[in-house]
């Protein structure tokens, strides 16, 4: 064993340690981000799963007048969802709006990054209207936006 060998060995070990530490830190950060995103995915799913039972329960208690048409029923659904969906977890944004057709509610939930899900809910699919076609509205109402105060 001579000095040159010791120097080469130390340099090799230092370089490997530095590279491994960088890769490890990046991987740990990516794993943490994945964990946060996975939690957000579950929370968004919970919001969507809650939406249909919420409308059914509200309709069982006090359904809107079926004669008022699907546009009015869609607005009723929007209000029920607005007031009844579970509280928004940190880092998520929810937007409830009437779709362009005027007869559907659009539920959009987004988290940071590209995580974004949208579903359309039609009152006729819940038996709240639709026995006769109602005239479509020209444009959508102002969306109701909600956002939690914390970031993801």
């Amino acid at each position: 064993m001579n000095l040159a060998e010791v120097i080469v060995a130390a340099t090799l070990l230092l370089s490997a340690s530095s590279g491994a530490a960088q890769m490890g830190a990046a991987s740990a950060a990516a794993l943490q981000r994945s964990r946060v995103q996975a939690a957000a995915v579950e929370q968004i799913e919970a919001q969507f799963l809650a939406s249909a039972p919420l409308i059914a329960a509200a309709a069982a208690q006090h359904a809107p007048d079926p004669g008022a048409g699907c546009a009015a029923a869609a607005q009723w659904m929007q209000q029920q969802l607005q007031g009844g969906l579970p509280p928004l977890p940190a880092g998520l944004q929810r937007q409830l709006s009437i779709a362009a057709s005027g007869e559907q509610v659009q539920l959009l939930i987004a988290a940071s990054g590209s995580l974004r899900r949208t579903r359309l809910l039609h009152p006729a699919a819940f038996g709240l209207c639709g026995l006769a076609a109602a005239p479509a509205r020209a444009e959508s109402d102002e969306p109701i936006e909600e956002a939690s105060d914390a970031t993801l």
Partner: protein
């Protein structure tokens, strides 16, 4: 003189010219190489794990977005079935719709439009509809939709049906329940 241990005896031989003596070769470099390999392998494994996690999460989100598209399509289709011909087609199987259209006073073009639609930029078509009973005795129906995309995902839904509340001999949808994706086959 270099001695090597074997299971029964020690053999000793004189070092050949050009060979470095074992004692002189040192152990720092082999240990450093081994240590570096262990470190790099460990960090590579961690990176592989994080990449796998990310890919799995991406697949889950993609699948959920497909489910969202088809669930929205199911809501639209259910509403269209309810609103077209006073819900007359709700009591009839998909195979019988062509014959039932006249009976239900539904134009051929309307019937065609009923069996396909669009959610956002994604198009879909109705592939199956089967009530569980005859006429207004049916209490539910199976609806199957398929995306018209590169991967033609299909999903099934159960429509809960009750006799219409307006006094007519027709059915009315009260709920659309998801039954999950049914693959991406044609």
């Amino acid at each position: 003189m270099v001695c090597r241990a074997s299971s029964w005896f020690r053999r000793c031989s004189a070092p050949r010219p050009g060979h470095v003596r074992a004692a002189e070769r040192g152990f720092a470099l082999p240990i450093a190489v081994a240590g570096a390999l262990v470190l790099l392998l460990g960090s590579s494994s961690l990176q592989l794990l994080s990449l796998q996690n990310r890919a799995q999460l991406h697949r889950v989100v993609q699948r959920q977005q497909i489910e969202d598209l088809l669930a929205s399509a199911a809501q639209q289709t259910a509403a269209a079935l309810q609103q077209t011909g006073g819900g007359c087609l709700l009591a009839k199987a998909h195979d019988a719709w062509a014959h039932a259209a006249a009976e239900c006073a539904i134009e051929p073009q309307v019937l065609k439009d009923l069996q396909q639609g669009q959610v956002g930029s994604s198009r879909y078509r109705l592939t199956a509809y089967q009530p569980d009973g005859h006429g207004i005795e049916a209490s539910s129906a199976q609806l199957e939709l398929q995306l018209l995309a590169e991967r033609p995902w299909r999903a099934a839904y159960r429509l809960a049906l009750v006799p219409s509340s307006d006094g007519q001999a027709a059915l009315q949808i009260t709920a659309v329940q998801e039954q999950g994706l049914r693959g991406a086959g044609a």
